[in-house]
Amino acid sequence: MAGHNHKLEIFRGRLKFKSNVQKIWGVLVFLSIITIVEVALGIIKPEILLNYFLGIKLINWIFIILTIVKAYYITWDFMHVRDEKPFLKNTIVLPLLILIPFLLFILLYEGSYIFNIMFDGLKAWNFDIY
């Protein structure tokens, strides 16, 4: 496959690299910054981020969002999805985008339902000495 045309801009065209190699290093720097932020947050655990939002701690929302950002740049720039045709992009991304949130929703909802049943429904499951 001769003639590789790489799209060299990231951040919606705000940052344009001169060559593909340069773009790779640029993305590495960006991914490293995200990882450092994640680890720093995980170690410091700021008090204000420990509040809950939609059933999940704010800090965990940040982790999840940063993870998805990382996943985006790994697939788009390292796996060259950015350079693929829209059909191929959609073939790869759409099944995952539809199925994973669905799976997440039903199983996490079921999990918290079972937790509630165990917590205030049935008491006899725990044969403690009390």
Binding site: M1, L31, S32, G42, I74, F87, L88, I92, L96
Partner: protein, 326 residues
């Protein structure tokens, strides 16, 4: 049979009636389909981990307290640093892989080989680190006691306000109780390997030192393990059934058995992916050295293997988040 109807098709790309809607080679396309299905497999695992965690939301082990080891720093509490380092190693090996693919586009054999070699080294370091993590996880650090209802109790020193390993306070007694193997006795039954410290020793040590208490699996409002008062701890300890040190698939000192099960299964499955990725990379590396792709005129195989390698990195990003951070 009409001999003139043989149509000439370009071998490299799927024709698609000339429109080339996907414009990718057959092998690359199939690699993508494999990756999509494998991504769904991993999401199945991670979501079932989430299910178990939501089901036990008030008593799940805290990852920061479990993964605290760093090479050459013994006894220093270093939560997550090592896993973060592993993440960097894997991301960096992803970068060298993408540089190899880029060099392949320029038909630069030496650079492809060099970057492939770096990728292989990075992958090997990662697998090794994973094995080391497993070793620490299986060996355990503090030890705990299991009570009648299956709950795990960890020990805590009220005076020093910190956790205390069982071998520090257990009263050591000379005993000659040996593991019962199936070659002695009549019924060919064996028992699980005996712990180095017996329950009696732990109980004696616990009763002698009044500063000791236990931590429950249960979490308080702030997400910390609940620490009982001495009186409550004595009641709990009266139903202790066995000493737990380290982790296996049945029970572990960190808390819920499912935590260790998912740890072994998900990181194990991912580690197996990394391992097979390293093996495939080595095969491609040898082929690069032999000049197979130079003769072929293109380095598409490097690109396909690269896709797999990046996928392994991608999965680790999620495993890292959901196992160690969240």
């Amino acid at each position: 049979m009409q001999a003139s109807t043989i149509t000439k098709t370009k071998q490299n790309s799927w024709g698609g009636g000339g429109a080339k809607p996907l414009d990718a080679g057959y092998g690359k396309l199939m690699m993508w389909f494999f990756i999509v299905s494998d991504a769904l497999t991993f999401s199945g695992f991670l979501v079932s981990y989430g299910f178990s965690r939501f089901k036990n939301i008030d008593s799940w082990p805290i990852a920061d307290e479990v993964f605290t080891h760093f090479p050459f720093l013994h006894g220093i509490d270093a939560p997550m640093y090592y896993v973060a380092l592993m993440t960097f190693v894997l991301i960096f090996s992803s970068v060298t892989m993408v540089l190899a693919v880029d060099a392949g586009h320029n038909n630069d054999k030496n650079r492809v080989a060099f970057y492939m070699l770096l990728t292989i080294i990075g992958g090997a370091i990662f697998v090794g680190s994973q094995a080391w993590e497993w070793k620490n996880f299986i060996k355990g650090e503090y030890g705990a006691v299991e009570i009648q209802n299956g709950e795990i109790l960890q020990f805590y020193n009220l005076e020093e306000s910190k956790r205390i390993p069982i071998d520090e306070f257990a009263y050591s007694s000379q005993q000659d109780r040996v593991t019962h193997d199936d070659n002695v006795g009549i019924w060919y039954e064996s028992e699980y390997k005996l712990p180095e410290i017996t329950l009696d020793e732990v109980m004696t040590g616990f009763n002698n030192d009044l500063a000791l208490t236990v931590r429950l699996e249960a979490l308080d409002d702030r997400g910390q393990k609940i620490i009982l008062s001495r009186e409550e701890a004595e009641i709990k300890m009266s139903s202790a059934t066995r000493v737990v040190k380290g982790a296996n698939l049945i029970r572990n000192e960190y808390g819920n058995p499912l935590f260790a099960d998912f740890f072994f299964f998900i990181t194990g499955f991912h580690g197996f992916h990394v391992f097979s990725g390293v093996v495939i990379n080595i095969i491609i590396f040898i082929n690069v050295l032999l000049g197979t792709y130079e003769k072929r005129g293109h380095y598409d195989m490097v690109e396909k293997v690269g896709l797999y390698w990046h996928f392994v990195d991608l999965v680790w990003v999620f495993v890292f988040t959901f196992f160690y951070l969240v």
